[in-house]
Symmetry: C2
Subunit: 326 residues, 2 copies
């Protein structure tokens, strides 16, 4: 998808030429720092792609695309305080480099900046975009709270887990696509179809992330393979393994034992839990689930009132997003 | 100002019937708790007053007034985390009653809710109100950051201090009034005049607060008289005293000594610093400054293209706000 790089470069250039030079610097420097940490910029690119596919220009959707990226980085900034994360993209997080107060406040300011960027949209879609964006922002807060709640629970059902990743991740991807469509002047039906495509693709992507964390090729994976297992993160794989092992007392005890193992046994724990996953067949179940959401996403493309050549970009994007090595 | 109580009751009733019952409760309960802590509700009342004075109904401005109150409480919630404040209106702060993570996230959600309430405004003023509101929100962040910066400085100039309280407090009062005017369909000139009235009244109010903290009648003052002196808070009085005592080495040394005194000498410190303020005449200088901003505020009422009987409410409000016992 060669065009993707052009979109990416466009976003990167425009993001770095955003005028974020207000005073005092203690408020604005962390914002510039956060936006310069890089990232895949998938969300703003989705807004541009969608706007062009529905007949608008990428320039028309630019400010909205930038708003989404600023908002996404605001959520990462506040999430990093909540998770007490020391690093983001291999660099100090804002609350480490400055302090928590500055991280809270510059995050708040980024949220305001995202609203200001949205308000630059001069098309008739402005109000619809603002309503959708703020509904989505509230859902992202709900998803983050559910994620924090889940950490303290012993078990979470699979539907509750899918709901959480839907709120925390998928609704924003869906929102990006729908705003691009609305800005281009799409019908409400088409805007909803592309939203549903984005939502289901987002769920598929997040589930694939869970699988990759265990089964990725370590030489190609950016993070430590097995990190989720070490931290007992309630991923689809662990929750499915908990569910299935209830039928096998021996395996259930083994899983529970490893969930209580200390950090000093990390390597054995990753090996043992991965073996358990293999024994229970959770990888295959997870892959089927990824495929289910992927196909569901594509099914909404059939419903779009667009010519096939206008839809190609959405098929290509889904392929690009889901092709990561397993 | 009997009508004020009716406005207050209207806001209180509508605030408590806001539907804040989303899930998970860990996100929404702290929001309900915060909005139920009470408060003077001055800001939303200003929006209603202004809308009615410019010929609109209070119902027309209701959602915007509520948005302002939700936003204001969001800033208090995040400020309380940053200040590590244990109490707000004599009750546990959210980060104490729940925890910091929940306080950060439910604050973020309150900010979204305020935008959603603003979006219910169906008059032609919507975009202008959103632009003004978000500009103001960013200024409030800047004011809070300046306030935190000032805590670490030895000295702050009076103009820098006035600028800080302008951003942290006055712009929001000004914004409330201007939004009410815009919703009623006022001219841009009148909207700006009422903004300037609110801004200067806000500065006068904040300076009066500084004076009250030292000179209020303890039996009528809600807080500990002398609290600012004990905590070395850089108020107008302290900054002016620092400035004036430079001309008198003996008094300068005495002030510096008290600024380094430990908590065990709190009572003597309040007495000694108050005596110093009296000697240097900073109370009178501060009162003159209050009067200057108060009169400046009223001067903008002369410029309003309204009949005198429509303006009365603004004179009455200024009187109500500034009449606190000194």
């Amino acid at each position: 998808m060669e065009k993707l790089n052009a979109y990416l470069q466009y976003i990167e250039d425009e993001l770095s030429s955003l005028n974020i030079n207000g005073k005092p610097p203690e408020l604005y420097d962390p914002i510039k720092y956060t936006l310069n940490l890089g990232g895949k910029r998938i969300r703003p690119v989705l807004t541009l792609i969608s706007c062009e596919a529905f007949g608008g220009s990428k320039e028309l959707a630019l400010d909205t695309a930038l708003a989404i990226e600023v908002f996404h980085n605001f959520t990462l900034l506040h999430d990093d305080i909540m998770d007490n994360a020391p690093l983001r993209r291999s660099k100090d997080t804002v609350h480490v480099k400055w302090n928590s107060n500055i991280a809270i406040l510059s995050g708040d300011a980024m949220f305001v900046l995202s609203q200001q960027l949205l308000l630059k949209n001069e098309t008739a879609s402005l109000k619809k975009c603002l309503v959708l964006f703020n509904k989505t922002a509230l859902e992202v807060c709900e998803g983050q709270q559910l994620d924090m709640n889940f950490e303290k629970l012993e078990y979470v059902s699979i539907p509750a887990y899918i709901n959480m990743i839907g709120l925390k991740t998928a609704v924003l991807l869906a929102c990006c696509l729908k705003m691009g469509a609305l800005i281009a002047g799409s019908s409400d039906d088409d805007a909803q179809h592309i939203y549903n495509y984005g939502y289901n693709l987002g769920v598929a992507f997040q589930l694939q992330d869970d699988i990759l964390d265990v089964y990725a090729d370590p030489s190609k994976f950016g993070k430590q393979v097995g990190g989720d297992i070490i931290s007992n993160k309630k991923t689809f794989l662990l929750l499915k393994a908990m569910e299935l092992s209830k039928l096998n007392h021996y395996k259930e005890s083994e899983l529970k034992m490893w969930l209580q193992a200390g950090q000093e046994h990390a390597k054995e724990k990753v090996e043992a839990v991965t073996s358990l996953y293999n024994f229970l067949g959770v990888k295959e179940i997870a892959l089927k689930e990824v495929d289910k959401y992927h196909q569901l996403a594509l099914s909404y493309l059939d419903k779009l009132n667009l010519r096939d050549n206008q839809k190609i970009v959405f098929y290509e994007f889904a392929h690009f997003l889901m092709k990561r090595d397993l």
